[in-house]
Symmetry: C2
Subunit: 415 residues, 2 copies
């Protein structure tokens, strides 16, 4: 598929992608758009100009400051909307490309807009679904010979996170304060976290689910998944360590989590499907699934120092999941828990088998026992004030189309 727009081969936003986001500019109030190459296409303008006729969307859905309204319409309508936008951008479709004055209204360089938080998140859940990450944590903090806890291979373990502090890429992240216990023999002290970390994750956004009390099966799960984002689940390891037994992570996590602004639809990722790992022991029937539920999306993490030197410190892949999204959603709802449109379900840290693919400083520095060297010669065990953490991700289809997520970044501030 080719577009009449000039799209760089290394753009994440090929015509095969068409992700959704919310943008604004000096002259435009926040509204819904799609990314194409280095441009944004304004869906409000497309609606006004009549290009979205016969689709089940109101103008108000598209001049909304979040994607929730379009997500609430459900999978089918969102699929039609994406296909319509994609069609309008195809080189063999003259409708929009021949109308210069419409093109001028509908397309805006990404450099001229500000991306907003794409979704008003209802509930945010964080899974713990990468086996190597769970093994690494278990080896460091528990028993190296029994790194995985007994339940880990039976269910996609998860906990509830905080929705209010999920922020869009570019939002500064303040180093959190809290209770620390640097000396195990002494009482806790209050202070700034010294062990600030990122977690390389992906998250998916849901369509409205079933009523409370009804489960979603693995076979139905994809009908309730709108799309995916890159997700940095910032973590303060020292706060987390002292607080988390017995009820799980709380203040060590809820000071901020960052999402990428473009939501890549599950449809767009269809050509990136790959088989998941053999699951042994066999899972319970409600976690069995058909087809491929894993995705070959390469992921990278950079640390950029205050003077702008970038170092790629991790190269991982979304395929390094033990539990896939179908299983996560089936597990989350098997007790009747309801999901709403705009809920966020994140993967947990995605670590591969090799040390270069670990998805957190905790693992890369092996609990601070070794240092990660940056391109400017400086060393890191955890994230320093002024550092910017940037995550990127993309996959290539068999047809050679690049399907990418752009990036999620956040700079750590301290005062």
């Amino acid at each position: 598929m080719k577009s009449w727009l000039n799209i760089s081969a290394d753009s994440d936003f090929s015509i095969a992608n068409i992700p959704f986001g919310v943008f604004k500019s000096d002259r435009l109030a926040a509204r819904v758009g799609c990314a194409i190459g280095d441009q944004v296409i304004d869906l409000k303008v497309l609606h006004v100009l009549g290009y979205l006729e016969n689709l089940p969307f109101e103008l108000s859905d598209l001049e909304s400051p979040s994607l929730n309204a379009i997500i609430a319409r459900g999978k089918g309508p969102c699929r039609e909307l994406r296909l319509r936008v994609q069609k309008l951008l195809r080189s063999d479709v003259p409708d929009l490309q021949r109308k210069e004055h419409h093109v001028a209204q509908a397309l805006i360089p990404q450099a001229e807009v500000t991306m907003c938080m794409p979704v008003e998140i209802g509930d945010y859940t964080d899974f713990y679904s990468s086996e190597q990450h769970a093994r690494n944590v278990g080896m460091m903090f528990r028993d190296p010979d029994n790194a995985l806890l007994p339940n880990w291979k039976h269910m996609p373990v998860a906990y509830h996170g905080r929705a209010s502090s999920v922020v869009v890429s570019g939002t500064p992240v303040r180093r959190p304060s809290g209770q620390l216990k640097p000396d195990p023999e002494k009482p806790p002290v209050f202070g700034k976290s010294r062990l600030l970390d990122f977690e390389l994750e992906m998250g998916f956004i849901t369509h409205p689910g079933k009523p409370l009390g009804e489960a979603i099966t693995t076979a139905q799960a994809e009908e309730f998944i709108f799309g995916l984002v890159l997700f940095n689940d910032w973590s303060a390891r020292d706060i987390q360590k002292w607080e988390y037994v017995p009820l799980g992570p709380f203040l060590g996590k809820n000071f901020a989590s960052s999402v990428s602004p473009w939501v890549v639809t599950l449809d767009a990722l269809d050509d990136l499907r790959v088989a998941g790992p053999v699951q042994e022991p066999a899972v319970l029937p409600y976690l069995e699934y058909e087809g491929h539920g894993h995705y070959n999306v390469g992921l990278e993490v950079d640390i950029v120092t205050p003077d702008g030197v970038a170092t790629t410190i991790s190269r991982s892949n979304f395929r390094h999941m033990y539990w896939n999204m179908k299983q996560q959603l089936a597990h989350h709802t098997v007790n009747g828990c309801n999901i709403r449109g705009g809920d966020l379900l994140a993967s947990g840290t995605i670590s591969g088998e090799t040390p270069e693919s670990y998805g957190s400083m905790l693992e890369l520095s092996w609990r601070g026992t070794k240092e990660v060297k940056l391109a400017d010669g400086s060393l890191r065990k955890f994230i320093a004030d002024g550092d910017t953490v940037v995550m990127r991700g993309h996959g290539m289809t068999a047809a050679g189309d690049r399907i990418g997520f752009g990036s999620v970044s956040g700079t750590v501030t301290c005062d």
Copy 2:
């Protein structure tokens, strides 16, 4: 303070109370009201008739199907609104009482309305702040000689819960299914929870807080608390037990939590303040507080069997908290975590020192080792299908006014 309305001495909704809720009826769409005796006063009608003049509320705030719009106006305006309603109901104020046709429009018997979910909850957090409850759980599941975990007396331990499945009193609660591990030597099995429990809690609803990154101090905390509800944090003990290490409770909790429909303002509880326990070891400075932050609110739990026989199985009190709401809110935000208007922060199970005051079947049956006898002679270790769990709470002011919460109830269904 006396009302011109005839209010029974055993009504939770004396003129000193004036809680807020959302109600609807066959002829009225959901809107905001206050409870007074056995009546609801319709705030939309009061606004239309001009009784709320010079208050900073729009008609749309009051014809809204949730309290979020009024809560978003902040503490001061909500305080003025409650005082205005209270004044209109006072026997020495003729304005409303003399206008029979206005009274007929504004007052509706509670028996004729349906109460709705009062608040659209943003994030829900559950604390673990009753010492006796934490001790009981520690004694049962960990070490009787070290029942409290090391962090417990240093911080109000908490975890994030699920907002989507918080339901209003009267909503049936379906017995959840999930992974159970009845035989520790064998793999988990899938099935209906056999150990379904309630947790007697209270929850508070917040006004919009500070921006992300800024903490709320204990001295500021009450300015961000709108009011309180009774809260039943339904729990499936067998699901919880197998899933909760290391990331905390998840499917064992998120199938349902029930709230009472009337939100009693913090202002209304002012005369019920009592001193809290001496906190030893001393807390860190950010958790120190001035004045009394505990409340003398008697709490009761009934089990009502399918044939309507009620047995009060627990008598507890909200004063049995180690950590109070000021401390909870200061702790929650000390890392910069933001709160929004309509967030729910619950106390955790409220258990007193005597066995009759324990706030869950887990404790009342001491992990199923003894049976609780009901008035019809039947026995319970946990909650049976068809049982209704009813929680009530009220306190008495020095002036003899009753400030109560009404009730929260839920019937367990199974299919």
